[in-house]
Symmetry: C2
Subunit: 235 residues, 2 copies
């Protein structure tokens, strides 16, 4: 936790918050904070700044907060991701938030197992919890938008073309395709497939929506590694 993220409900005055949950535990056990110490804070969806510890007890801390600057810019990106297996999903939400993705669309695909859709990690409260962990890591305050699209064809045919319009549309896909571009300055719509990749029909439909395949070399990457690798290369 490199930033203490504050919610509206934490405020007891316009410049004071009271904390009593995992953030208090973290302040005490990791930061070993004491009265008078300063910590970095951010307001979810808002500004960042610093806080001074006014009062620190076993079950509660009171902090005085000052907000001074905007959070870091997001990437100019819509990320479309085939739903990965549940054990990857939690870390993926964290990574996506850490890297500054503003909008994540989780999509079905032929090789996504039906059971993946049943995971509790797709519940809104769980998604939010993991996005917040990622924001705390990066020092950002703005939650990415997460959209869930359970049907591939209607999404790719009806909604993706307008999302991709005016952006550089890319599909991460192993094979004899151009190398993924570097240091792009325009907005990007990037789709990343499931383990085992998109099937040819899906690549074709993504292409009709304006997303063209690019590759990163012979090595097969885990989804989370592929997301980080593609975004670091593109932006």
């Amino acid at each position: 936790m490199n930033l203490l993220l504050l919610e509206e409900a934490d405020f007891v005055a316009h410049d004071r918050v009271v904390l009593s949950d995992r953030r208090l535990t973290h302040m005490q056990e990791i930061h070993r904070a004491e009265v008078g110490d300063n910590l970095r804070v951010g307001c979810i969806g808002g500004l960042m700044g610093s806080a001074t510890v006014l009062r620190l007890q076993a079950g509660e801390a009171e902090l005085q907060v000052r907000f001074e600057h905007a959070p870091p810019a997001k990437l100019p990106l819509t990320l479309v991701l085939a739903v990965p297996r549940p054990k990857m999903l939690r870390r993926l939400f964290q990574t996506v938030a850490t890297l500054g993705v503003p909008r994540l669309i989780l999509l079905n695909s032929y090789k996504v197992e039906k059971s993946f859709w049943q995971t509790p990690f797709l519940q809104p409260a769980s998604i939010r919890e993991n996005l917040i962990l990622g924001l705390e890591q990066a020092r950002d305050t703005v939650l990415p938008e997460v959209v869930i699209e359970k049907r591939f064809k209607p999404f790719v045919e009806d909604r993706l073309p307008s999302i991709a319009a005016g952006t550089l549309g890319l599909v991460g896909h192993p094979g004899p395709y151009p190398a993924c571009p570097r240091g792009v300055s325009e907005a990007v719509t990037l789709a990343i497939g499931p383990e085992g990749g998109w099937i040819p029909y899906e690549v074709e439909l993504l292409g009709k929506a304006g997303l063209n395949p690019v590759q990163l070399g012979d090595r097969i990457l885990r989804v989370e590694t592929a997301v980080t690798a593609l975004l670091s290369r593109i932006f």
Copy 2:
């Protein structure tokens, strides 16, 4: 497991292997392999090719193997990493092997907690196990070399200069430094710090050894994400 990695002890003839461990379980439960099926295989430290399942029983499988091509090229890189916390270390070995790092030096640093050195994940058998998982993911056969350096100063003063000589020397470090270069074609020596970063004295000594600080922006990345992000941008 995108590649079945074979060890010398698996061979019962020059073109036949017998498997009975987690690789057999994986073949049966994930690939749902049957007699006559073909699988991608590689020989640790050697060539890659394919195998045909000759015999498949509850506790044992026999495969006929053919080796046809070389594994993918490694990156022209020596990666120097401050030892991360144990729970990150396992995945880091996997990621480093997946990304094609040929040589990893794990280094002490002021902000590395002493307890991190006690983890069983630094035992040679555990390191090898996780490197192999990373190679299986990427489809590579060549184990990265892993060197452990428990003392920062003698390593950086006495041994690092000759490692970095003739390479582009970089230290990933947040701050007012040049942006990390993109698409480098020369050999690189890259040092990545612990959570909380290198201390100024360490950055100074790394500089004297020929490694200069570069940054990736305002966002603070977990070590594993930083490794993937830096390597994807540099190469």
